[in-house]
Symmetry: C2
Subunit: 142 residues, 2 copies
DNA sequence: CTACGAGTTCGAGCGCACTCCAAGTCAATG
DNA sequence: CATTGACTTGGAGTGCGCTCGAACTCGTAG
């Protein structure tokens, strides 16, 4: 698979794929006779996992540490595991934080809803009064 | 309250407070006789809410839109509400996304735990075999 | 042979959200 | 009166994670 197809299938741009290789997030890819990168489909699994790390807010620095352990092969499982466990805790904390903010947002939104409702009621009341006055005028003009 | 105290109480740096005022996120603060900013405690509520928006990933661009509506005063409640409602949906989506990633992390971590367990078992087995051989040698040597 | 499309490298540029620096002002203290 | 420390402004610099451009090389189709 060449870089263009990998880009389409991974959702990254070819630029980003090269950038990731440059910084060491992706392993140095084999090149064909004309020095073009030639990828194995298995790289998609790795890119996908990197995407998870990224989505959960892991900085590239730390992904690099994980990638390096992975490259180092067996014997690094305990380190990789504890790195992911620490990250998992951070993600859990983040979720809790977002949920706390959601409550604040709910309250704020409910506050605006109240204000809007009060305005509507007020308007409806005003209309009713105008109509009553108009009715009274009509009745009086007969 | 001067900027230093506000910085301490809000958790922002004085630099950041001035930056926020410059871009319009904080209202232009009144100055005292010697042109120093003089804040009312009520600003803390606003900074706190801005913090919630920031924590939930709202870009400054959008906070500015909200801040502008707020400055515009009454009549903008419906807009402010819908802005916050749209944001709330994004935050909810983000939480869902993080939770999906947490499942992937759990699986990955469990995988490493398995590998480590297999290695431990293997080592324990090796030790047992060595002990048995040592025992057999001792018994034979008697 | 030419033209194309997709790839290559290297380095510069960008958007975001700060963060910091230099040079100056001011009020209070010794 | 001199010093100290907290403040002022305007503008430059930073770190992150890309993103893009220029100039070039290939392999294939017409």
């Amino acid at each position: 698979m060449k870089i263009g197809e990998l880009a389409r299938r991974s959702g990254l741009s070819a630029h980003t794929i090269r950038y990731y290789e440059r910084i060491g997030l992706l392993p140095y890819a084999d090149r064909d006779r004309s020095r073009q990168r030639d990828y194995d489909a298995s790289i998609l699994t790795w890119i996908d996992f990197l995407g998870r790390l990224k989505t959960t807010g892991m900085p590239i620095r730390e992904m690099l540490r994980y990638a390096a352990l992975r490259e180092a092969g067996s014997g690094t499982e305990a380190d990789r595991r504890s790195l992911l466990e620490r990250h998992r805790e951070q993600v859990r904390a983040r979720v809790a934080e977002l949920e706390a903010c959601l409550l604040v947002l709910d309250t704020k939104i409910a506050g605006y809803a109240d204000i809007e409702k009060r305005i509507e009621d007020h308007d409806a009341h005003q209309r009713t009064r105008r109509n009553q006055q108009a009715g009274a005028r009509q009745a009086g003009s007969r």
